[in-house]
Symmetry: C2
Subunit: 255 residues, 2 copies
Amino acid sequence: MADLPGKVHGKVKASRYRDIAAKLQKDIRLGTYAVGNLLPTETELMASYTASRQTVREALRILIDQGLIIRRAGLGSVVIAAEPPVLFTHSVKSLGEWLRYSNETYRDVTGSRDIVADKKLAAMLKCEPGKSWFLIEAVRRSDQFAAPLGWTEIYVLRKFAGVVKRSDHGRTPVHEQVAKMYGQTTEYAQMEIFVRGMPAPIAKQLGVKAGSPALTVVRRYYGLREELFEVTITTHPEGRYTYTMDMQRSLRPRL
Amino acid sequence: MADLPGKVHGKVKASRYRDIAAKLQKDIRLGTYAVGNLLPTETELMASYTASRQTVREALRILIDQGLIIRRAGLGSVVIAAEPPVLFTHSVKSLGEWLRYSNETYRDVTGSRDIVADKKLAAMLKCEPGKSWFLIEAVRRSDQFAAPLGWTEIYVLRKFAGVVKRSDHGRTPVHEQVAKMYGQTTEYAQMEIFVRGMPAPIAKQLGVKAGSPALTVVRRYYGLREELFEVTITTHPEGRYTYTMDMQRSLRPRL
DNA sequence: TGACGGACTTTGTCCGTATAAATTGGGCAA
DNA sequence: TTGCCCAATTTATACGGACAAAGTCCGTCA
C-alpha cells in the first residue's frame, strides 16, 4: 500500500473517482454525512455525479482504505470516522522481533516444572488463580558479554510443555515454537514494562544485589477466543537492557 | 480496513478473484514468481484463468494490499515480497496517545531555562554536544493521588520556547502545542525505556530515596529532514508508572 | 557513443450490463 | 407478542468493451 499509481511527486493526479472520493471525504469531515449514518447508495451517487458504478465504487474504495466507511451488502456504506484515524504506526514482523533481542542472545535454561498459579502469580499473569502452567526458567545471556542480561520466566499451557525438547529451544522465541509444534497462533498480545526492586531469588541467579533497580517486562500472548496461552516475564538489572521503539507517520497512499 | 466483505467467522468466502489471488500468492511464496520478477500480465492471467479483466484486477489488488506486488502502467506487476511482511501492528492516533497518561494527569511546571547540551546530556538526547535547548522541568501529577507520578524534563528548540505561555500548557502534550503554535509536525518519533537508580536531584523533587529503582522513558520527536526538535525525559519511582502496549494481528481484510 | 523519437506493451480509468449474496423490514402465523 | 419467512434494497462479484497514460524497447541520427 505504499506506492500506488495516481501519485506524482506527492501530488495526486486528477481522475473522476478521486474527485468523487475527495468530495465525499469533505462531506464526511464537515458532517454532511455524520458518523453512524449512511452514505448515499451507489445508484444515487451514480446519478448525482453522472458516473458509472465502477467509478463510484472506486471512489468508495478509497474511503474504505482510509478507514472512513465500512460497506455491507444489503445495508450500505456506514460512516465510521470523520477523519482518517491512524496517524502513527509501529509495525513488527513478528512478536519475536517485538523484543529487540538480537540474534546474539539466547536462553540458558536452568529448569522447568509444573506450577499452579497462586493469587500473586495470577495477578502478574492476568489469569484465574488456580490455573495450571508449565514454567520454564532461564538466564538470558549474550555471546558478547559474560554478565547475564536478565532472568526469564516462561509460563505456557501444560499441553505445550514439549517445546523444551526442541533443539532450537534456547534461541527461538517460545511462542514461535508453540506455533510450529502445536499450531497455536498468536492473535493478540500485550506488553507491560515497569520497574521494581530486584527480587531476592532472581538477584541471586544474576549475581546482583536484592532490591537494586530492575526492569521487568511482561508479555502476554493470546490465541483465538482471547485464550491466554503464554506469558513471559523477564527481569533485567540496571544497564543491561533498554527497550526501544520507533514510530513513523503513516502516509495514506491514495488521495 | 478491519472488517470488509468476504469474511465470515474468520473464514474466507470463496470467489473467483480470491481463488486467483490465493494461487498467485502460493506461486510467489514458492518462488515460481521470484521477488524482483514480473507477474504475468493481466491479459495472460485472463487467458490462463479464463476470467475477465475485472476479476483478474480484483485478485491483483489483494496482492497489492498485502504488500506482495507493486503495479505500474507500462511495466507490469513487480513482485516485491514473498510473504506478507507485516504481521502485527500497534497503532496510535497521535503521539500524545502513545504515552498512556490518562486525562487525569498534568504537568506542574517548576521552572524553565535555556541550556546548552554538554557531552552527557547530548548522549541522552542523541544530539550534538553544544546544541542549545529550552528546558522545561515539571512534576507529573494526578488528580487522583497525592504522590507525584514522576519527574519530566522537556527539551525543545529555543525557537519554540513560547509554548510555556499557553493556557493549556500543563495538560496538553508539548509536541502538540508546538504543532499548533509553530506548525512543526512530527514525522518520526522514538522511545526508549530503561531502568536506573533514581538520580539525587530528582529524588529530592519527588520525595523518594536517591538510588531507588526508577523507570526512565525518553521520547524523541523528529520533524522533516530528520530534524530533532523535542526530547522529553520522564523518570518514575517504583510502582508509580507502568508502560502498556497492545498488539493485534493485522487481519488482511480481503482474502 | 549517446540522445531522441516513435512503436509497442501494460496498466489506469471509465463505461455498460447481469446475477448472487447479505441485510432489513414488514406481513403472517403460532 | 414472538418468531419465521418473503420481498425489497443494497452491495458483491463477474462479464463485456474502449480509450488514456506510463513505461520499455529499439532504431535512427547527430
